[in-house]
């Protein structure tokens, strides 16, 4: 799980162009949106595409993303449980 969490942090920094953010600055339980990492709705769409492309998880309801993308920890747990690749 720790390995997946690190992988997610690296992917988020790269794919969302968070150039000034280091992996060590993202806590496993920090909120990704709002006061935490400050991601927005366009980032949410990017993350939905990333889930499908990299882990084979297709979200049927985009509203699910609100819960899944709460933090790196929650996201990693969801991927671990539902991944097809």
């Amino acid at each position: 799980m720790a390995e997946l969490q690190l992988e997610l942090k690296e992917k988020i920094i790269e794919q969302l162009s968070l150039e000034d953010v280091e992996v060590s600055e993202i806590g496993d339980n920090d909120p990704l949106f709002g006061d935490g990492l400050g991601l927005d709705s366009i980032d949410a769409l990017e993350l939905i595409v990333m889930l499908e492309k990299d882990y084979g998880i297709k979200l049927k309801d985009p509203k699910e993303g609100k819960l899944i993308f709460e933090s790196i920890g929650v996201m990693a747990a969801y991927i671990e449980k539902n991944r097809t690749k």
């Binding site: 162009s17 150039e19 366009i42 990017e46 492309k53």
Partner: protein
């Protein structure tokens, strides 16, 4: 219309025009056919969170617009009009690469959203919170002049407005190189500073952004008045000469009343005859300037001539690096700008000292 005054202007180009306070005293000579514009310190103008999705054209546009607004002492423009020949090429290219690499699946929204030509105008409006008129013109090498014409019309209807008018074009990793293959750019390295007498086909390429704030009333910030602008889609050598003579006559003046002419020669022997034809005839006794050997060619490069015109009025002198003949004007009150690209998209502009 009361008038159309340039109350602030800024420029990002292949020369250090944003960092230097002098008028082209510091010149950088280039050798490669395709050269990127000098990057100002974007972080001093754009918050990192906002900047992370911005391509070069968006960053250049946002920064140049902020600099022009600051120069004009305007916080919020009433309208934003932008001109671009090719728009956000970098994100368009990356989006198409994703389409190919991912077999038309898993396409992320950011590149698609930001690949449209009006992205820069939109990002400037978002950053400022400007909900006014916002239009982008994509008209080849007269994209910027078309934006200026629209601003003139808008000022006729609403003379109280302050209008932000800008030009943006960027080079991209792959698509700009296509211009080498199709002969628009020169083959191999070349010395930019001597490009105007190259005697070869094709030109040199770069990118840049020029923004200005226009108003109908003259103020203590006014740098120049845009007396008239016209564009012609297609013209022969004789037609372009006649069009310029007609344009000048329509202003109630004769060619000798023009103190200096800024030409858009780009060193392409196949098309510079349009400029040579004028430089050796109606303007042979007029001071002549060229600038594309400094900033390269791109669809909105002609906006740089507006910046030069304002700088000439401001400094009352012309740097040697711009001069292409020996004639020296007694004063600089009226400056004519003429540009065309590969015999198309001709633009004629008359600037007058305030």
């Amino acid at each position: 219309m009361k008038g159309c005054y340039i109350n602030g202007i800024s420029n990002i180009s292949a020369q250090p025009t944003t960092v230097s306070t002098t008028f082209l005293e510091e010149i950088v000579g280039h050798k490669e056919v395709i050269i990127r514009a000098f990057d100002p310190d974007y972080k001093t103008f754009i918050k990192p969170a906002a900047m992370r999705r911005m391509s070069k054209s968006v960053k250049m546009g946002v920064v140049a617009s902020k600099m022009a607004l600051e120069a004009a002492d305007i916080v919020m423009p009433d309208a934003i009009i932008t001109g671009t020949g090719m728009g956000c090429r970098q994100d368009s290219e990356r989006f198409l690469e994703n389409v190919l690499h991912n077999d038309e699946q898993f396409l992320t929204p950011t590149l698609f959203i930001q690949s449209t030509h009006n992205t820069v105008g939109g990002q400037i409006a978002l950053g400022l919170g400007c909900k006014g008129y916002n239009v982008t013109y994509v008209q080849g090498a007269v994209s910027f002049e078309t934006s200026v014409i629209d601003a003139q019309l808008l000022l006729t209807e609403s003379p109280e407005q302050h209008i932000l008018v800008g030009a943006i074009d960027e080079i991209a990793k792959n698509s700009t190189k296509l211009d080498i293959l199709n002969g628009q750019l020169k083959q191999g390295e070349c010395d930019w500073l001597t490009i105007l007498s190259s005697g070869t086909s094709g030109t040199i390429c770069s990118e840049g952004a020029t923004f200005m704030v226009l108003g109908a009333e003259q103020s203590n910030k006014s740098l120049a008045q845009i007396k008239a602008v016209t564009t012609i889609n297609d013209a022969t050598l004789d037609e372009s000469k006649t069009a310029i003579e007609t344009f000048i006559a329509a202003q109630g003046i004769v060619p000798d009343d023009i103190d200096a002419v800024i030409f858009g020669n780009n060193g392409d022997q196949d098309f510079d005859d349009y400029f040579h034809n004028l430089q050796t005839s109606i303007f042979k006794n007029t001071e002549q300037l060229c600038y594309k050997h400094l900033i390269g060619e791109y669809h909105t490069a002609s906006a740089f001539a507006f910046w030069i015109g304002c700088e000439v009025f401001k400094h009352n002198t012309i740097p040697e690096v711009l001069k292409v003949n020996e004639v020296k004007a007694k004063q600089y009150n009226k400056i004519l700008l003429y540009n065309q690209y590969r015999s198309r998209n001709h633009s004629i502009v008359l600037l007058e000292r305030c």
